[in-house]
């Protein structure tokens, strides 16, 4: 180690308040302690120290900040027994081609021990277009399952009892329509709405921030979200009408801290809108769930989940005055980072996914999706999807990590990182509050710009070689053939879907459809809850495209500001 490096190290000791004995030990053996690089950074480009000691957790109050699992502020988990009581739900996100094809995949996954379902819809569905729209050309069934009306939804859940299986639906801008379709399918199966559990993603804020599958202007879209809160609180009390999602924010390039901060601030925004609509926080907030990413930097991710629980509990109690502990408990789903998967040497992705999934589990996730190794190439094949599920089963049943609650609690490193996450998130909250709230911040393009900047800085770090991706910028192999078979969705899916759409339209009572769509426009204009009329339209087999276009007539469409 040269003199300059040693100097830098000493300065950093001062900065991090290292203990004198530590410093002395390093000095004495500086010859042997030469380090590989000048600075060590997480995948979020955050500096980490060589060693964490008691000095790094000097502010930590064990009773107030950690407490016990199942106790406020839930840093160590929301259940006293952790996974000893109930394992996390193994919920693999799946959907491709026709509803029949996806139905077969669902049944396959359930047969192989999966414990919950999660539906991926295709891009036309996410944008509120039917399969026969010219805009849907080339996209039907490609990124998820194609659904244009209740008839498709009936085929999708054929033979799957919705009272027993919890289903998560990844749908946002047209989420209220999908909630209606889901509830009507359940009703036709004879299920009791009061017993139905499941989750609607319905997180429109992160669409404007990151994933960008929007339809209506932001404030009208927020109103639709509040409509579903109100409806579910009354009629489907065990259903989660929103899954506040950091996943897409992270995939768009955010750091772990930005993912945490923007997601929780989005959650706070939904609570504020619900309160303003006259809803009781003790009734609707317990049904708000969260969804986080599990990226490569193991400890940073674990700290993120722990900080998320602590911040949410404190905000709910101290800011919103929550009394009920379920209102303060943050429950979340985790998905491993799709963005971290590589096309090069794709089998390596199995290893990445296993480590990311382990971080989610050590962070106390309630449910987990493990990506399939071929997802940087296409939607997963049956074989790839099965290995992903088996990865979870190995973690759950072979490694022993599910035997002890929050096994990393009390680690100097983990606690220091958790504290840093909490401090950083609160600093972001202050900036967003100063703008007037999250809706205003999004309108100003603030989170969007922050994420873009991080994405670019990460790309530069990668190209400098400061960050490594095995098989891509290090240990790359020339002329490697694509080693794995992939799932191809052919164009016949669209004609199949258009055919069913035409049959549906021919069979239905078109007078009833027109009446329901008219009624929907009217309630939307008057600012009334849109759910009952949406249900009526869906019941009459009005298509997704027709319902969304009725709402477009009233609300208009969102135009992204230049950012």
């Amino acid at each position: 180690m040269n003199a300059k490096m040693l100097e830098i190290k000493e300065a950093s000791f001062e900065k991090h308040g290292e203990q004198a004995s530590e410093k002395k030990a390093l000095k004495a053996s500086s010859e042997r302690l030469t380090e590989r690089k000048l600075s060590f950074q997480t995948v979020s480009l955050e500096e980490v120290n060589r060693l964490y000691t008691q000095a790094d957790v000097a502010r930590l109050d064990v009773d107030l900040d950690l407490s016990f699992p199942g106790q406020f502020p839930y840093t160590r988990g929301i259940h006293a027994t952790g996974y000893r009581g109930k394992l996390w739900t193994m919920r693999q996100f799946a959907g491709f081609g026709t509803p029949e094809q996806t139905n077969a995949r669902f049944k396959y996954l359930l047969r192989e021990g999966q414990t919950g379902l999660s539906v991926a819809y295709d891009l036309p569905a996410l944008m509120g277009y039917d399969a026969d729209s010219p805009l849907s050309e080339g996209e039907v069934g490609k990124c998820g399952v194609a659904v244009s009306s209740l008839a498709d939804m009936e085929a999708l859940f054929e033979g799957i009892p919705l009272e027993d299986v919890t289903v998560s639906q990844t749908i946002n801008a047209p989420a209220s329509v999908f909630l209606a379709m889901y509830l009507i399918v359940a009703e036709k199966q004879g299920a009791d709405w009061k017993k139905i559990s499941g989750t609607l993603q319905n997180d429109i804020l992160k669409e404007y921030i990151a994933q960008k599958e929007w339809i209506y202007p932001i404030r009208s879209a927020m109103k639709l979200v509040v409509d579903t809160f109100e409806f579910c609180t009354k009629h489907v009390p065990r259903y989660n009408p929103v899954s506040v999602s950091g996943y897409h924010i992270r995939e768009a390039g955010a750091t772990a801290l930005q993912e945490l901060a923007f997601t929780l601030r989005d959650g706070i925004e939904y609570v504020e809108w619900g309160v303003r609509a006259g809803l009781d926080i003790e009734r609707f907030v317990p049904r708000i769930s969260f969804f986080f990413n599990a990226h490569n930097d193991f400890f940073e991710e674990i700290a993120k989940y722990r900080a998320a629980r602590r911040i949410w509990a404190r905000v709910m109690r101290d800011h919103f005055g929550a009394k009920n502990e379920r209102t303060m408990q943050l429950r979340f789903h985790t998905q491993t980072a799709g963005v971290s998967l590589t096309v090069q040497q794709p089998i390596n992705n199995i290893v990445r996914v296993a480590i990311q999934a382990l971080a989610g589990v050590l962070g106390g996730t309630q449910s987990l999706h493990t990506d399939a190794y071929d997802e940087a190439l296409a939607l997963p094949t049956d074989k790839a999807a099965l290995i992903a599920l088996r990865t979870q089963q190995i973690i759950a049943e072979e490694t022993g990590v599910a035997n002890t609650v929050d096994p990393l609690g009390g680690s100097y490193f983990i606690e220091a990182l958790t504290q840093k996450m909490e401090d950083g998130a609160r600093a972001y909250f202050d900036r967003i509050d100063a703008m007037g709230g999250m809706v205003e911040a999004v309108e100003k393009g603030f989170p969007q710009r922050e994420i873009q900047e991080s994405a670019y800085q990460y790309q530069k770090a990668l190209e400098r070689g400061d960050q490594t991706i095995v098989g891509v910028n290090k240990y790359a192999m020339e002329d490697q053939p694509q080693e794995v078979p992939i799932l191809i969705i052919d164009e016949s899916v669209r004609s199949h879907q258009i055919e069913r759409l035409e049959q549906t339209k021919a069979r239905r009572d078109s007078g009833a459809v027109l009446k329901a769509l008219d009624g929907l426009r009217k309630v939307a204009e008057r600012g009334k809850n849109t759910m009952p009329m949406t249900m009526e339209a869906v019941r009459a087999y009005a298509t997704l495209g027709e319902i969304c276009s009725a709402l477009r007539d009233v609300y208009g469409v969102y135009e992204e500001p230049a950012i």
Binding site: L123, E137, G138, G253, V343, L377, Q482
Partner: protein, 148 residues
């Protein structure tokens, strides 16, 4: 032109024939624009002039923007699997309006078996995940036709 040391040679070259102008385009319904935006910024940092179309542009809108902005290249970003439908249409619309030298490059999730056909249909290069931005900069510098 005198042969100058590395970087300088390129800059001189570009100065002589003007900056490379690139349209970064995002067709289809997909909203994942991380890649498009990172590339747009990297090309700008490399001294090119970049116009970004924004999301959900039809091939017709992209071709019209390319003509209006008089670009040397169109960089198309597609992650949804709709490339076989969208890319050939963009190429043929550009050619129809006489932009014969306008380079079309594609970045995104594209299966290997689709690549030969896309190239046959006039896509100059396909950049898969993991490509460095420098590689794309180099490709454009080497392949954009110098203007008269």
């Amino acid at each position: 032109m005198p042969l100058l040391p590395n970087g300088k040679y390129f800059r001189e070259c570009e100065m002589n024939r003007g900056m490379i102008r690139v349209l970064v385009a995002k067709p289809g319904l997909d909203g994942h624009d991380r890649g498009a935006k990172v590339i747009a910024r990297a090309l700008r940092d490399a001294g090119m002039e970049v116009i970004y179309t924004g999301l959900r542009q039809t091939p017709e809108m992209i071709a019209a923007a390319a003509l209006q902005e008089d670009v040397d290249a169109v960089g198309v970003s597609i992650l949804s699997g709709a490339h076989n439908t969208l890319c050939p249409r963009i190429v043929s619309l550009l050619r129809e309006q006489g932009m014969n030298d306008c380079l079309v490059v594609l970045g995104g999730i594209v299966p290997q078996e689709d690549i030969p056909k896309l190239k046959e249909q006039g896509v100059a290069e396909i950049f898969l995940p993991g490509t460095s931005t420098q590689e794309i900069v180099r490709f454009l510098r080497e392949n954009v036709r110098p203007r008269e």
